[in-house]
Structure formats: structure tokens, C-alpha cells
């Protein structure tokens, strides 16, 4: 029995060391952490190779460029660039003049440590990675495949080390046991085989224990992520591009999502809102008539005449089809300088119209007239109360803070996790607009602010249950 206990302890020790090593790796600020943060937050606008400009500038040498200013200035730029620009910071203004009107998405939830990690990662890529940078620039799109992840490498090395250590320990135990047998003059003294060690109850118990711990860990983790859909990128009935509208044409988000200013819902704009522009712009730059005609068909606007059709709701569908097919066909002809539709044109018209009908009808609705059934990308559970106007108007947050670089998305996806931890973290780190006269009653907070401390949403009860759940 003694040897078994010993084996058990030895293996226990190995695992314990391994666990410690693992947590050690993930506990500190590091370039590895910076890499994942960069991927999640920056890579949409800043080139991964750090050498070339993209939407945002290349990041190599960023620290040198900001070297003239206190380190916290770079942090505040990252937290909210617009604020720094407004405060008249020379470097900020320089950047703004170069890149305006593109604004950098504010990242108020990044901590000092996070920023440090990202900077470490940038430095590392700039110094070490010409090869990787080339691979990235070559457009393969993925992360450099040749390079083993730092944290993983360390993990493998440690695992190997401990495995060897365990073997050595086992060997010592087995030798000691053999010596003991000799001394006690046990007949047929035998060295313990590795197999018998693996088959021992102690080992099984240890394995079971860790299996339960790991499985439990993954189960809980999995359960927590149930219902979360970060990265959710569904197909929409209309191939609407935020990139074209908000990015290229720089239409203010709140021009269409008008509810964000005055309601809890940001509101998907009604079909009529589209007509504010698309009464004039009738052919799309990307999809031509294929997508825009859906807007017209959904509300009975005749693009041929520029008039709304009387009694459209009750118009038979073949008559409706005639109107819009004519429009698509006419456009096809003018695009291709034809005087009559050729066979390819015929099939193109048919294809587009079929797609339009499919997008605008469903099993309960056979007419194309009616609201467009968008697929909700951002879904909060029913027991969460969220108000856009609270965040946009009172908190003065940018849409991008939660929705990410929406102006670069052809198809919208859920950028943030929308988990409670994510909400609460932001509430802990985001400063409130204490100059709003509403807060006059909070004397202690004003004192705190004057003392130079951060006054965050959490200070006015922003992490209490009934701020969001009631």
C-alpha cells in the first residue's frame, strides 16, 4: 500500500504543479494576452502586420509617436479618442486631421494592463515578425500558421517536463520498492511495471478526480455560454450593407436608428425611412436593382414612375410582378445598352424577382407588401431591461462601443458578447457624465471627482440588480 500512496502523491504533485504553471501563464499581462485582445478589439481597423495602414494607421512605433506625452494620454486616446480630440491634445488633433471623419471606436473597458499587453504584442510583431508580417500581407488572411502560440509552447514544455519528472519519480519509487523487497527478503522480488502503476487505484482516483473537475469546468462554462451568440451573423432578407451606408457614405447611425436617441429600442427604421434617399437613388452600387427593389415592393412604390401605387395592398401578385420586372428589365437593358431583353436578361429578371418574393413573403403572407422581416442580431434575454437612450444620450456612448466597427460590416454580426459580465465590467470602468445637473444630489461623488478619482457607473448603483432586472 505504501508505494501506492507514494505514487498517488507524486502524481498529485505533478498535476498541481502543472495547474500552477498554467494559471501562472494566464495570470500576467503578456504579449500573448495582447495578441488575443488585439484580435478582438483592434484588428478590424488596424492591420495585423502593424506595418501598413488600413482603416486605422499602422501601429508599429506607436509608443514612439506618443513618447512626448504622458503614457496615460495614449490610454485615454484608446478609451475615448473623441474626448481627447475635444480637449485639444496636439497629438490627438494631428491624428484627427489625418484620418477624419473616421473616428476610432472607444474602448472604455480596456484596462491599463490590457493596453500594456496590446502594446507588448505590437512591439513583438514589429521586432520579430518580418516573416509573419509578410505572410499576413500576402493575404492568406489567417494567423501565421508556422508560429506556435507562446502560451501553448510554454504549456507543452512544462507538460513534457512534468511528465518526465513523473516518470523519474515513478522509477525512484519502483526502485525503492524493489530495494525494500530485497531487504524484507520477499520471494521473487519484482520491479513495479509502468502498467501496474497506471492500473493502481490511486492513479485511477486521481484521473477520475481531475476528469470530474475538468468536465465540471467545461459544463459550467458551456452552460454559461448557452444563449450567447457573439459573432452571430445571420442572413438578412435584404443584403443591406452598413459599410456602404455608415462607412462609405458616412450616414449618421441615428439618422436611421432614430430610436436610439429617444427610446429603449434603437429601432429598425421603417421602410419609409429608406425612401428618404432611395426615392432618388434607385440602383444600388453593389447589387443594382436586386436588393433595392425589395424596398419598393414592400411598400408599393413604383420606381418606373416614381409614384406610390394606389391600392397596392390588394393588387394581385402577377400585376405586382409586372411592375417590378419591368423596372429590373429596363435597368438591365440600360446597363447593357440593349433595346430589348436578351435571354440572359430574361433569366436575370426572373432570378431577381424570385429572390425578392422569397425575401418578402412567408407562409402566412403571400403578398410582398408589408414590413420586412429582419433577423434580430442582438438579442437580450427577456428579463434584461436595456435602454438605448440611457446609453447614447445620457451616457454619450458611441454606437461602436457595443456594436463594434459597424461601419466596416457588409453583413452585421454581434460584436460584443452581450453577457452580464461584459455589461457589469463596462459599468465598473466607464465614467459617468457628472456634469449633468441630475447628479447634483450626489455630493460625495462630486468630492470624489474633485479629488481626481474616477466616478463610474458603478458608483451610482450601476451594478445593482434592479438597474437592469425588474
Amino acid at each position: 500500500m505504501a508505494e501506492k500512496r507514494f505514487i498517488f502523491r507524486a502524481i498529485q504533485l505533478v498535476f498541481a504543479l502543472m495547474l500552477m504553471a498554467q494559471t501562472g501563464v494566464f495570470g500576467q499581462a503578456s504579449a500573448a494576452k495582447g495578441k488575443s485582445l488585439f484580435k478582438a478589439n483592434c484588428a478590424a481597423c488596424h492591420n495585423k502586420n502593424m506595418k501598413d495602414d488600413m482603416t486605422g494607421p499602422a501601429l508599429c512605433g506607436v509608443e514612439e509617436r506618443w513618447a512626448d506625452y504622458p503614457k496615460s494620454d495614449l490610454a485615454s486616446w484608446i478609451h475615448n479618442s473623441q474626448k481627447l480630440i475635444q480637449s485639444g491634445h496636439p497629438r490627438a488633433i494631428e491624428l484627427w486631421n489625418k484620418y477624419k471623419p473616421i473616428t476610432m471606436t472607444p474602448f472604455p473597458s480596456l484596462t491599463e494592463e490590457d493596453i500594456e499587453s496590446i502594446l507588448m504584442h505590437i512591439k513583438e510583431v514589429c521586432e520579430k515578425g518580418p516573416a509573419t508580417a509578410a505572410a499576413g500581407a500576402a493575404g492568406s488572411g489567417g494567423a501565421p500558421a508556422t508560429k506556435v502560440d507562446d502560451s501553448n509552447l510554454l504549456y507543452y514544455i512544462l507538460f513534457g517536463l512534468f511528465a518526465i519528472l513523473a516518470l523519474i519519480l515513478f522509477n525512484i519509487v519502483s526502485s525503492l520498492d524493489y530495494v525494500r523487497q530485497l531487504e524484507e527478503e520477499v520471494p521473487n522480488p519484482k520491479k513495479l511495471s509502468l502498467m501496474s502503476g497506471l492500473k493502481s487505484t490511486g492513479f485511477k482516483r486521481v484521473v477520475t478526480f481531475f476528469l470530474v473537475v475538468f468536465l465540471g469546468h467545461f459544463l459550467v462554462k458551456g452552460a454559461i455560454s448557452l444563449g450567447r451568440q457573439q459573432g452571430y451573423k445571420p442572413d438578412q432578407p435584404i443584403n443591406f450593407s452598413h459599410k456602404i451606408h455608415a462607412g462609405d457614405n458616412k450616414i449618421d447611425c441615428k439618422f436611421c436608428h432614430d430610436g436610439a436617441r429617444r427610446s429603449r429600442h434603437s429601432m429598425i427604421p421603417d421602410n419609409a425611412t429608406c425612401m428618404k434617399c432611395h426615392k432618388a437613388i434607385k440602383v444600388g452600387s453593389k447589387d443594382g436593382t436586386a436588393e433595392l427593389t425589395k424596398i419598393y415592393a414592400s411598400q408599393g412604390f413604383d420606381p418606373n414612375t416614381g409614384e406610390y401605387i394606389e391600392g397596392f395592398k390588394d393588387m394581385p401578385m402577377d400585376e405586382v410582378a409586372g411592375i417590378y420586372k419591368k423596372w429590373i428589365g429596363d435597368n438591365y437593358m440600360s446597363e447593357n445598352d440593349l433595346t430589348s431583353l436578351d435571354a440572359a436578361g430574361e433569366s436575370e429578371v426572373e432570378k431577381q424577382w424570385k429572390n425578392i418574393v422569397r425575401s418578402l413573403t412567408n407562409e402566412f403572407k403571400s403578398h410582398v407588401y408589408g414590413p420586412i422581416e429582419w433577423v434580430r442580431v442582438h438579442n437580450l434575454p427577456d428579463h434584461v431591461f436595456y435602454s438605448h437612450r440611457q446609453h447614447v444620450e445620457v451616457g454619450k456612448l458611441e454606437c461602436q462601443t457595443c456594436h463594434g466597427p459597424i461601419e466596416t460590416m457588409d453583413k452585421v454580426y454581434q460584436y460584443s458578447p452581450l453577457s452580464m459580465g461584459w455589461c457589469v465590467n463596462c459599468h465598473r470602468n466607464t465614467e459617468i457624465q457628472l456634469d449633468n445637473p441630475y447628479y447634483e444630489d450626489y455630493e460625495l461623488l462630486h468630492k470624489k471627482m474633485k479629488a481626481g478619482e474616477k466616478v463610474t457607473v458603478a458608483d451610482i448603483g450601476g451594478t445593482e440588480c434592479q438597474k437592469c432586472h425588474y
Binding site: 458551456g222 448557452l226 444563449g227 451568440q229 452571430y232 445571420p234 430610436g259 429617444r262 427610446s263 429603449r264 429600442h265 429601432m267 429598425i268 427604421p269 421603417d270 421602410n271 419609409a272 425611412t273 414592400s298 411598400q299 407588401y369 408589408g370 414590413p371 420586412i372 422581416e373 429582419w374 433577423v375 434580430r376 438579442n379 427577456d382 428579463h383 431591461f385 435602454s387 437612450r389 440611457q390 444620450e393 445620457v394 449633468n436 445637473p437 441630475y438 447634483e440 444630489d441 450626489y442 455630493e443 460625495l444 461623488l445 451610482i460 448603483g461 445593482e464 440588480c465 434592479q466 438597474k467 432586472h469 425588474y470
Partner: protein, 1060 residues
């Protein structure tokens, strides 16, 4: 202290009933395990398939959960209406009108659905108050059992017809000579009257027969005789110093209760402690009505002796005023003395006195007129310049209609929002006579006992779908505008009549013909569209009418001829309209069915209220040896067959009399309203063609020995204040038990030693002892504060750092103003998605109300005074519930709110057990959502779907408040959604939150302004002003839970409290 040990809830806490104690203690534990198991078995019986289904479900649920999230669609408008912003509420002014019930309201709509009713503060009548019935009207809109389309009734089924076909069918059967009757309850719409006129023009032999189930015909006739005015004068309780009411339930059901409660509260104003504005209210009755329970003094008089009592009062007044007296039979000594004392008060008050009576006897109403005239009340407390049109019914007309139908004189009968087969004493005869009418058309929103006997049904819009106008009072108008498109294929009644009349007043081509008609009626008067839109927006419109000179030409010499002769039966019974379901019109509304009667605290039915006696030691006796509420007793009323009626032993009922409410026992009201309680209309007597709301010939038989099934009385539920520490031994003991068995107990003379001994729950004082009382209350509160200081926890530090920053919410409840009307409880249910649970669940202590109104008695057991105490979560700053939650699902916010996170709650119910106020409610079943498994769903009534599961009902849910599911605790949140909304609006506008920006649902519903919500940290707030009163106290202040709901002690304007 005056009230020490003299407060009780029911006989059980007085007699320290062991079974009751057991039940109350186990409130949060299924009270009877065998019962629960039996239920589960019943629902699961022999269901191997269900078991497999469950197995399969859990598997598939696991699979589904691990897969993708279901795709959710978001549909924008095609063209968004300008005034709608999804997510923001839109409010419309409209009116609640059902028969003679009227209340101007503001309707809250979200995304086009009406979800909540608020009072209209612009109304000069109600000042923004509401009633439970007005609050509940929004639920009747979403009634699954509304009539959905016009049609012909054949073999008890409604065969659908188009409106065109219906119009042809009806018009085809009418000729210019047809004898037509339109039977209706009181209508107050000038436009509808005009539609009736147009109908009469086309069919000259048409007669509109107006009647009221609870009628005031005698008042109309008496006023016609004495003043030449066939109306009810406007009452001004706010100008009265002394009110003597003969059975008139003016705070609950009589004429215009919301208006009267609003006025009454102005005379229950105790803010100026040295000079409180408190009227003296003397109530003469035999039962215990809501108004009677609010009175300072009650005089017990048998129903058949009401007239005699009035005559005695008249004589006493006349003697002092030097007028002729009436010859009248003698009355009992006690009542006689009390009436003489009342007369003294009345004469002293002079023009500020007021006598009202609900009697339906012309001679008696004339006596009331004579008294009011003698004391000079006309012009101050009564005024024909503000005459009320809320009762127009003529009992004789409906009787004449019955006879006409019997003799075959009627060719066509239109039943417009009336139900004579149910709500008249001759219902059965009326139903039989209807068979002789060749064309019968029912116009209503729901099927009822009468219109199911019709040939055609022309369903009407619900109030919230209608256009209309109301003329409730001289110089006061009010409007209805639709807040939702009609849900079903219905048409407004006025439009139907105009269509059948073929009237050119109706522009049938218009998009909304009836709107155009109503508008046309007002355009000239108001002077244009803009003015019409303005009155629609404000909802109410007042005009200055020419002053009337109304001379009194009553003849005092002939007074008293024709008053009721006293009965000589051993028992008499009186009938009162129900506070909740009214005359039966609201029976299919589950909110009102489940609302406990404010006085008896019974729900889902009406019960025979019988007197109860305290024998002075430790026991109670009632009639026929009944020892238990809910026991079935055989009673023969009016010489008919014996009825088996469930009994409720009610304090304050006069010996030899019984009492019962009207409005229950419907048979065709839909699943919620039908077959609950007993129909008492057939037992109403008739005198001189007028319906009498009592019966003086009652024979009480023997108890059957059975008990009402699922007797749903909440009186004993959720009571608090039982446990105490024995000072000698230090053990936790049952306080009331100890009080009863100890040597200190000296019977009734030393006061009732109920459950509420020496605990600061209820405080009251006679008015003349208020100074002494205030001093004692102050001492008591200081003592409590001293006790509370003995703590290790740095409460003051928390207060300074947390609660004194920003907001610290508090509620103030003035029990002087609270009449117990229960409008707040319904408002709370509507605002917070509080579920309805049904009779059986209520009987198991499972009612879900966040706000209950506790009713306490004090004074003498024979004729007690009543104390109403709205009780909700007290949001304790040192809350005992928070400490015991194992998952921190309930904790405290920096604004002093005890917050409840439903999704964290795992249902241990520790918090509910630890709550000293018993205000936490547990979702024993899945009350609002449709659960997949039958046993998890409550059966509220006989409906097929569990209540709350149908999609129509769910339209009423407030989208700002989570719908709780099975297994979690819930409770009052101080309407946190309203607080957040108010704060956000202030932030958006960049200003400090103003006092009154946030109002709780209970506060806005209250007709008397008894509930005020505010911020303790706002030094200028109304709340802080109210708290300065020396009558302010906190319930259970001495146990250091730091509640933040303050109450004001009640002042009783009587000198002979406890002497009765």
C-alpha cells in the same frame, strides 16, 4: 395608549385558534401535503404517456439548448406613425363608462396596445382618482370570451353573418308601426341619445326603457316631487362637517363613488395636526358596508326600519328647528339615542350637514330631502346646479315592459348593455316573456343571460375601441377615443342604431362613421376641429351652466306617509352591490373576481354574512351554532325554497339581520364569471313598483354540515405579529397564546388580546384625545429607536455613505384617507404583471397580490370601527429577508430598495418565512406562462386554456416588467420601472429629479390621495412634509428592520369609542 390590545383581524386571532395558527405559520410550506399529492395524482392520473413525454422533453430540451438559438425576427413599420416610438408609451385620454359607472381615465398604450389605466387629473369630479373597476377595464378588452362577430343565434350557437346581412335581416323585420323597446341600463352619452332619437324618428313606436340593477328611482321621483327636478343633486362631501348616511355606500358603490371618495378625503385631512379637517360620518345600516366601515359611528338598524330611523332623525331635527314632526312607530332605544345625538350634530353643522340615503322608497327619500332642507344643506353640500345624471333608471318602466311583453304588445326588443334576465327580481319571468317578442337583438360586448335568448347579436366595441361622449353631471362632459383598432368584427352600438334607422346623420362612406357622427354633434358647440381635438386630448370638458333656482316645495305635513312598515320576521337580509364585480356587469373579469371584498376579505363569490358574538372570554358564537366560515347554511328568503348558502361570520352585523352582496351567481358570463357565488336578485322585494334592496322575511334553517369548496377568504392569510419573546424565560413564544392564558387576561374589559398585542402595527385615537396620543406615540417611537440603536452594525455610516446620496425612496400612507376601496391593488396587478391564481389557489393561501389591504377592527366587538392598512413590501433598509437568501437573489440597492432578482431566485422561500410583514409571494405554479405540463398550470376557472396562456390575455402584460415563472419569489418593487423611467427622463432633460416625477401605480390609482411616493433626500418633497406629522409611525418599528413605508395613525371623530 388608547388602542393597546384592542385591535383584531378576525375571531380566530381573538380566540387563538390552534388550526389557524398552524396554517399561518406554514404559509410558505404547502399547507397540506396530502392535498398537494392528491392534486398531482389527479392531474397525472394514469399518465404513463405524460411521463414518457416529460422524459422525451428533457432530452430534446437539452438538445435544443445546446444547438443554435432560435431565429428571432424584428419587424419595423412600413410607414411609422409619427406619434409612436416603439418602446415608449403613448397616453390617450378616454373614459370608463359602464352603465352608471363613470371615471375619466388616461390610457397607457405600448406599441398600440392599451396596458394600463390611470386617472385623469384634469377631471373636476375625480381629481385623477380611479376605482378598481376602472382599473380593470383594460383586462375586459382582452377577454377571450367577448362576442367576436355579428350573427344569428340558432340552437345556442352564434351563426356568423356579415354586418350587411344582419342589417338587412333586422331592418326587414321592422315596420314603421312596430312596437319597439330598447332596454338599457343608464346611459350618459348625448351622442347615443341622439342615435336613439334618430331611431325613434324612423320607428315612432319606439320606447327606450332605462333601468338600473341597483336603482335610485325613488330619489328621482322624490326630487321631482320636492324640487321639480328628476335628477340626483350633486353632492359635496368636501363641504360637509357631518354626514349621516342611511345605508348609502357612497365610498363603494353608490352613484359616483370615485368622486365622493375624492371629496371625502378632503375632509379626512390631518396634515395640520392642531386643526385637522375631519368630518363626522355617521352610518345607519344593518350590515357592514365599505362606507359603513369607514364611518366614525355606526347605528345599527334593521333594513325594514330604515324609514322609521329616518323619520326619527327628522323628528329630532324638526324639534330643534321648530318644524312639524311625523307620527312614527318607536325605534329601539340604542338606535333612537344615537339618532338623537346625530340630529344634534346635524343641526350644529347646519348648512355643512348632509344626509344621504340609498333607500328606494319615495316617502323615505322625501324625509331625507326634508332634513337636508331643514338644516339648510341645499346650496352647500347638495346642489342641483351640479346635478348628477349617473342614475336615470326607472323601475316602473322595466316592470311595464315585462307586462307589455307578456301581453304580446312588443314586436321588437333591443337589449343594449343590459341583462334583465339576471339583474332584475323578475328575471325568469322576463326570459319567458321574451319568447313572445318576434325580434330580439342583443347589443353588448359579451354574451349574457339575456342576450343569449335573442335572435340576433350585434356585438359592440369595447370602451377602449370606441368613440363617444359622456355627460355625467351638469356642466361636465367627458370623451371616449379608441386606443386600439377593434380586435374583433364588432360595431359600435350607436352606429348600429343609426344604421338600422337609415339615418342620414351617419356618413356610412366615412372611414370611421361613428367618429364623424360624434364629432358633428360637438363641432357647432365647440367651434371647430381644433377645439374638438383639444377636448379629446384633455378628455374632459367643463362648461359654465346658468345658475338654477330650485325652490323646495315639499309638504312637511304629509311627510312619512308610505315609509316602509317594519317587518316582524325573526331575520331580515339586506343586499348591497359588490365592490368588485358591481351589479354583475364585471363578472367575467378575473381581476375583480379575485379582488377580495374590502370588508369580508372574501373573493371568488358572495357569502351570507351573519352576525358574530364574542362571549367575553375566549369563544365566539354565531347563529345556529356555526363555528366556521364557509359553512353551508339553509336559508329561505321571502318565503321561497331553502337556499344552501355559504356563511361568513362578519363583525358589525346587527343581530337578527343578515347581509349579502349582489353581482355573483351569473350563469352565462363566460368561464370566469359563471357559477361563482349566488344570484340574489330574485330575492329582492318590490314596493310600489320599486325594487327594494332587502328582504324582511327570512327563515334560517339548519347548517348542512358541509363546507364551501375552496372557501377563498384571504382574511387569515399573511397575518403577522404572532411571535414574541417571553420576558421571564427568554423563550420565543406565541404572543397571543401567552396573552390569553396569563393571569393578566381579564376578558373583554381589558381589551382584546389578539395577535397584535402591543406591537406597532395599527394606531388610532379618538379625535379629542389626539394630543395625548401624539405624545404617547412619540414616546413609543423613541423607545423603539433606543432599541434599534443597540446594534453592532454601523447603520448610520451606511446611511451617510449610501442612502443619503442620490435618492432614498419612501412611501407614505395616510390611513385617515384610505377607504379600503382596493383600486390600488388592481392597479398594482396591472402594472406589475401580477398573476391571477383562481379560487382554489386563493383558498390555499397562494394569492399573488403584491399589495394587500389589511383590515383591522377596533372598538367594540358588536359594532367595531375599521382600520384599512395597505400593506406591501416595506423595503426595509435592514431587511431580514436579504440576510437569509442563500443565493443573494434579494439584496439592497443604494436607493433603499429591496431588490429582487427573479432569475437568481431558486425558491427556498427562506425570505418569505423571515419577512415580518408577510409580503413576499411565491409562484407555486406557473401562473402566467403556458407551461408544457398540466400539473404546473393553475386552473382558474373552467376555461380550456390555463388562464394567462391565451395570446389575447397576454397583450395586457407590461413589457417593462418581467413575467415571473414557477418557483420564484416576488414582491412589491416600489414600481422600480417607473423610478428608472423618471430618473432617465430627468437625466435626458439635464435636470434634477422633481418631486412627483415618479409616482407608483398604487399612488396614481388612489381616489383619495392616501398614498404618496417620494424621495427622503429631497427636503422639499411632499413626502417629507407628510412625515412631519406627529401621527406618523412605521409598522413594527421596534424590530430594527428600518422599514421605508410610513403610515399615519387614524383619527376617529367620535367621543364614545369603546363605550358601545
Amino acid at each position: 395608549m388608547k388602542n393597546k390590545g384592542q385591535v383584531w383581524v378576525s375571531d380566530k386571532d381573538l380566540s387563538n385558534d390552534a388550526q389557524w395558527r398552524h396554517e399561518v405559520r406554514r404559509e410558505n410550506i404547502p399547507s397540506n401535503v396530502a392535498d398537494v399529492v392528491a392534486d398531482a395524482n389527479e392531474m397525472l392520473s394514469g399518465n404513463r404517456r405524460d411521463f414518457l413525454k416529460m422524459l422525451g422533453f428533457s432530452l430534446s430540451a437539452a438538445v435544443v439548448a445546446s444547438c443554435d438559438i432560435p431565429v428571432k425576427k424584428a419587424l419595423p413599420y412600413v410607414v411609422k406613425p409619427e406619434n409612436i416610438v416603439p418602446g415608449n408609451a403613448v397616453y390617450y385620454a378616454s373614459s370608463f363608462v359602464t352603465g352608471s359607472d363613470y371615471c375619466p381615465v388616461i390610457v397607457k398604450t405600448r406599441e398600440g396596445r392599451p396596458i394600463k389605466i390611470e386617472g385623469n387629473p384634469k377631471s373636476t369630479m375625480t381629481g385623477g382618482g380611479t376605482s378598481a373597476r376602472a382599473q380593470a377595464m383594460v383586462l375586459s378588452l382582452y377577454d377571450m370570451y367577448r362576442l367576436r362577430h355579428p350573427g344569428k343565434l340558432e340552437d345556442n350557437t352564434l351563426k356568423r353573418m356579415s354586418w350587411e346581412d344582419l342589417d338587412i335581416a333586422i331592418s326587414g323585420k321592422l315596420t314603421a308601426n312596430s312596437n319597439i323597446r330598447i332596454v338599457t341600463h343608464t346611459t350618459m352619452s348625448p351622442s347615443l341619445d341622439k342615435a336613439f332619437e334618430a331611431f325613434k324618428q324612423k320607428y315612432p313606436n319606439t320606447e327606450v326603457v332605462t333601468y338600473d340593477p341597483v336603482s335610485s328611482t325613488a330619489m328621482l321621483l322624490a326630487n321631482e316631487k320636492d324640487f321639480g327636478q328628476r335628477v340626483i343633486p350633486g353632492y359635496r362631501f368636501d363641504k360637509a362637517d357631518v354626514v349621516v348616511s342611511f345605508n348609502a355606500d357612497f365610498l363603494g358603490t353608490w352613484i359616483s363613488p370615485v368622486e365622493f371618495a375624492h371629496q371625502y378625503a378632503k375632509k379626512r385631512e390631518t396634515q395640520d395636526f392642531d386643526r385637522p379637517q375631519v368630518l363626522k360620518h355617521i352610518h345607519v345600516e344593518n350590515g357592514m358596508s365599505l362606507t359603513g366601515s369607514n364611518a366614525d359611528e355606526r347605528i345599527l338598524v334593521k333594513p325594514s326600519q330604515q324609514g322609521i330611523a329616518m323619520a326619527h332623525l327628522y323628528n329630532a331635527v324638526a324639534a330643534r328647528k321648530g318644524a312639524v314632526s311625523i307620527t312614527v312607530p318607536p325605534i329601539e332605544d340604542e338606535a333612537g339615542k344615537a339618532l338623537k345625538a346625530a340630529a344634534v350634530e346635524l343641526v350644529k353643522a347646519g348648512a355643512k350637514g348632509l344626509v344621504v340615503s340609498s333607500s328606494n322608497n319615495v316617502a323615505e327619500q322625501q324625509i331625507v330631502n326634508a332634513i337636508n332642507h331643514l338644516i339648510g344643506a341645499y346650496g352647500t353640500t347638495l346642489d342641483f346646479n351640479e346635478a348628477s345624471y349617473q342614475r336615470k333608471g326607472d323601475d316602473r318602466a322595466i316592470r311595464a315592459l315585462l307586462n307589455d311583453m307578456k301581453s304580446g304588445k312588443v314586436d321588437a326588443l333591443f337589449v343594449h348593455h343590459a341583462n334583465p334576465v339576471y339583474d332584475t327580481p323578475f328575471g325568469t319571468a322576463f326570459g319567458e316573456a321574451m319568447a313572445k317578442v318576434s325580434l330580439k337583438v342583443g347589443i353588448d360586448t359579451n354574451a349574457n343571460e339575456t342576450n343569449v335568448l335573442c335572435d340576433y347579436l350585434a356585438p359592440d366595441h369595447h370602451m377602449l375601441e370606441s368613440w363617444g361622449d359622456v355627460h355625467p353631471k351638469r356642466g361636465v362632459y367627458s370623451f371616449l377615443q379608441p386606443t386600439i383598432n377593434p380586435l374583433f368584427d364588432t360595431r359600435q352600438a350607436g352606429e348600429s342604431f343609426l344604421t338600422w334607422a337609415g339615418s342620414d346623420l351617419l356618413d356610412t362612406k366615412a372611414e370611421q362613421p361613428y367618429y364623424e357622427f360624434v364629432k358633428a354633434n360637438w363641432m357647432d358647440r365647440l367651434g371647430g376641429q381644433a377645439a374638438f381635438d383639444a377636448v379629446l386630448e384633455s378628455g374632459v370638458y367643463t362648461t359654465k351652466e346658468a345658475a338654477l333656482e330650485v325652490p323646495y316645495n315639499g309638504d312637511n305635513n304629509s311627510l312619512g306617509r308610505g315609509i316602509t312598515k317594519p317587518g316582524n320576521s325573526e331575520y331580515e337580509i339586506s343586499f348591497l352591490e359588490s365592490i368588485g364585480v358591481g351589479n354583475g356587469a364585471y363578472s367575467n373579469n378575473p381581476w375583480l373576481m379575485e379582488m377580495p371584498d374590502p370588508v369580508t376579505r372574501c373573493s371568488w363569490g358572495n357569502y351570507l354574512q351573519v352576525p358574530i358574538h364574542f362571549d367575553g372570554v375566549n369563544d365566539f358564537t354565531s347563529i345556529k351554532g356555526i363555528h366556521e366560515d364557509g359553512a353551508i347554511l339553509n336559508v329561505a328568503i321571502g318565503g321561497g325554497e331553502e337556499q344552501a348558502l355559504p356563511v361568513f361570520r362578519q363583525f358589525g352585523i346587527m343581530d337578527g339581520t343578515l347581509s349579502m352582496t349582489l353581482g355573483y351567481g351569473r350563469t352565462m358570463a363566460g368561464p370566469v364569471g359563471s357559477d361563482f357565488g349566488h344570484n340574489m336578485y330574485p330575492f329582492l322585494q318590490e314596493a310600489d313598483g320599486l325594487t327594494q334592496y332587502y328582504n324582511d322575511s327570512v327563515t334560517v334553517g339548519e347548517p348542512t354540515g358541509e363546507k364551501e369548496e375552496h372557501f377563498a377568504c384571504v382574511q387569515y392569510h399573511h397575518t403577522f405579529g404572532i411571535k414574541d419573546v417571553d420576558k421571564a424565560s427568554g423563550e420565543v413564544i406565541n404572543a397571543d397564546e401567552a396573552a390569553l392564558v396569563s393571569d393578566d387576561w381579564k376578558g373583554i374589559t381589558s381589551g382584546f388580546q389578539g395577535a397584535l398585542t402591543d406591537r406597532s402595527i395599527v394606531y388610532y385615537t379618538p379625535l379629542h384625545e389626539k394630543d395625548e396620543f401624539a405624545k404617547e406615540l412619540h414616546e413609543k417611537r423613541e423607545e423603539a429607536e433606543h432599541l434599534n440603536q443597540q446594534t453592532l452594525y454601523p447603520y448610520d455610516k451606511y446611511k451617510e455613505e449610501l442612502y443619503d446620496q442620490g435618492h432614498h425612496w419612501e412611501l407614505y400612507i395616510d390611513t385617515n384617507k384610505c377607504t379600503g376601496c382596493a383600486a390600488c391593488t388592481i392597479s398594482c396587478m396591472a402594472e406589475n404583471n401580477v398573476p391571477i391564481v383562481g379560487k382554489k389557489e386563493v383558498s390555499r393561501h397562494h394569492e399573488m397580490t403584491w399589495l394587500r389591504i389589511d383590515r383591522y377592527y377596533f372598538g367594540s366587538a358588536k359594532n367595531p370601527n375599521t382600520f384599512y392598512q395597505p400593506m406591501m413590501c416595506q423595503q426595509c433598509d435592514n431587511a431580514p429577508c436579504e440576510n437569509v437568501c442563500p443565493v443573494n437573489a434579494t439584496n439592497h440597492s443604494s436607493e433603499g430598495i429591496n431588490q429582487m432578482a427573479y432569475n437568481r431566485c431558486i425558491g427556498t422561500r427562506y425570505c418569505a418565512n423571515n419577512c415580518p410583514y408577510k409580503v413576499r409571494r411565491f409562484n407555486w405554479l406557473d401562473y402566467t406562462t403556458a407551461d408544457l405540463f398540466r400539473p404546473n398550470e393553475p386552473v382558474v376557472a373552467q376555461e380550456e386554456l390555463p388562464f394567462g396562456a391565451d395570446s389575447l390575455f397576454r397583450m395586457i402584460l407590461n413589457p417593462d416588467v418581467t413575467v415571473r415563472s414557477r418557483g420564484v419569489i416576488e414582491k412589491c418593487s416600489f414600481c422600480v420601472q417607473r423610478i428608472q423611467e423618471g430618473k432617465l427622463n430627468a437625466k435626458m432633460e439635464g435636470r434634477r429629479l422633481a418631486d412627483g416625477d415618479v409616482k407608483t401605480a398604487c399612488q396614481t390609482a388612489c381616489p383619495t390621495g392616501a398614498i404618496v411616493f417620494g424621495d427622503q433626500n429631497d427636503k422639499e418633497s411632499k413626502l417629507n412634509k407628510l412625515k412631519e406629522s406627529p401621527l406618523t409611525y412605521y409598522v413594527l418599528e421596534e424590530i430594527d428592520v428600518r422599514p421605508t413605508v410610513a403610515y399615519r395613525a387614524k383619527l376617529v371623530n367620535t367621543e364614545n369609542l369603546n363605550e358601545v
